[in-house]
Amino acid sequence: EDAVTIAFQTGVDPSKVAQADGDYEKATGKKINWRKFESGAEVIAAVASGDVPIGNIGSSPLAAAASRGLPIQTFLVTGVIGESEALVVRNGSGINKPADLVGKKIAVPYVSTTHYSLLAALKHWKVDAGKVNILNLRPSEIAAAWQRGDIDGAYVWEPALGKVKASGKVLTSSAEVSKWGAPTYDLWIVRQDFAQKNPDFLKQFVKVTGGVFDRYNKDPKGFASNPANVEKIARLTGSKPEEVTALLPGNVYPSLKEQSALLQKPFVKAVSDTSVFLKSQGKVDSLQADYSSYVTNQFINAALR
């Protein structure tokens, strides 16, 4: 049969090594066209167009897509976002505690997981989001605006995160926000029609990913400092090799066993929480009664069997 097109993003995670090695092709026996995308919204558009059955997005775009009833399912998590995304405030901005954020300019790429995390953190701190000047900037512009001193803080990911950390301090990170009940994820979605017709493909796909995660979790430092791994990840994502080593430990990569449990109630709850949050922000018009049909551990379980 013909090739499968998969939309990936440039998030750094161990499975990129398998992707670079062609492990997915070997395991599934199919040719795979890997296509790089810049944002979750674009991946979703591509998935919706039918050209792309499988795509890699964050949990915010997933919630938006699910709330609008796109026929997709989350079948695999590629990372629980941790220290890799953080809210940094600039030295000299006068922000020492969350309450100081009021009236300050905080930049965040709208709709990204950091946007959700920022608002969740503010809610946790009981800071009125309406009183914080939240600006929409892409990471590269965040770095530039930071340099000029135009913004007082930013909730952003690497490598911009590293640049702003150099002259600022971390107020909180997604690892912490996750503990406050607003976890964010990187994950794989699949079109439902494709999932029904190709369970075996997905099973193999999950299996390969689980394999690399296990390899990573066994020895995170060793994996991240292995030049071969680093080179492969850098090549696929376009990041600089020296950054990859630092980026990898920023997220948590749950094993398939953990995911089998995660991709049930807990994940459904995270998606519906995010959706409720989006609704409250006026970003989506209506909510689904139940988000469980957008999440499945069927393929993980199949892989584990």
């Binding site: 512009e141 605006a145 135009d150 006026g282």
Partner: protein, 279 residues
């Protein structure tokens, strides 16, 4: 429209009845309405047929409903009117700057070869650059305020205006320049009284093209820390698959741009009635 209506076979002669190709049972505006109507019909048919999922092409009815909420409650903390106003301000400011700088500069470039050779590489360097590519540099140099946004739109309008003006200067019949010079026109007077009006038809067309380019840079410009603006609204909504808002934003842009375009065309007809006349 009467001046430009009858290009063939009798373009100039404004005699009582003129020959046109084909019959015209309908008035121009009727034709145009028909065309817009058919567009709307197509939209309705596409979304009603279910060929395109509502997620990507919401039905006219859904968009209308959304329009109401946008006008009343707004989106991203601003109503549609406020978004529109913010964008319109940026556009007009950029347009003003682009015309104010582009037309004189284009004329000077057209007239002074030296200046052309000097500026040419610079203009030709910036002209093809994708705004998305140099956005960080704009931010670093001009910050995240209005200046950066207007600058980006300005740059998009400037290039067509400049090129069209230079082209227009080259189109000014040399005999008209000679006539003015031998009536004692100074360089400045020549520019003011002969070259500028002679190039005017082209300049106005350049502005029309430039304005289109400016609008289509709006989203990129409003990527820079905007809190209001049609581009900002569209872009925010697009991220959340809010296609209804995207469609509304698109329609709003199209409408405003269309009104400006019609104004420019009228200006062109009023200011340059001689255009195309063989003299």
């Amino acid at each position: 429209m009467s001046q430009q209506e009858h290009v063939l076979p009798v373009p100039t002669a404004p005699a009582a009845r003129q020959r046109t190709w084909g019959i015209r049972p309908l008035a121009p505006w009727q034709w145009s309405s028909l065309s817009i109507g058919s567009l709307l019909l197509l939209w309705w048919a596409l979304s009603a047929s279910g060929l395109v999922p509502a997620l990507f092409l919401p039905s006219p009815a859904a968009v209308l409903t959304k329009l109401q909420s946008l006008v009343v409650q707004g989106y991203m903390e601003a109503t549609l009117q406020q978004h529109l106003l913010a964008s319109l301000q940026r556009m007009l400011l950029a347009l003003l700057a682009a015309v104010g700088i582009g037309v004189p500069l284009g004329i000077l470039i057209g007239v002074f070869p030296l200046l052309r050779h000097w500026l040419d590489p610079i203009i030709e360097f910036y002209r093809p650059l994708p705004p998305l590519a140099y956005l960080p540099l704009i931010v670093i140099w001009f910050g995240i305020g209005e200046v950066s946004k207007v600058l980006l739109i300005f740059l998009a309008i400037l290039a067509p205006v400049l090129i069209a003006t230079t082209h227009g200067v080259a189109s000014v019949h040399s005999i008209r320049q000679q006539a003015a010079l031998s009536l004692g026109a100074s360089r400045g007077q020549l520019l003011r009284h002969v070259i500028l009006p002679g190039a005017l038809p082209d300049i106005l067309t350049g502005i029309r093209i430039g304005l289109g380019a400016g609008w289509s840079t709006l989203v990129a410009a409003e990527l820079i820390a905007a809190t209001r603006g049609l581009g900002f609204m569209i872009q925010s909504a697009a991220q959340f698959l809010g296609t209804d808002i995207v469609v509304l934003g698109i329609i709003a842009i199209a409408l405003v741009a269309f009104v400006l375009e019609l104004g420019l065309r009228r200006l062109q007809r009023v200011l340059t009635p001689w255009h195309g006349k063989a003299l």
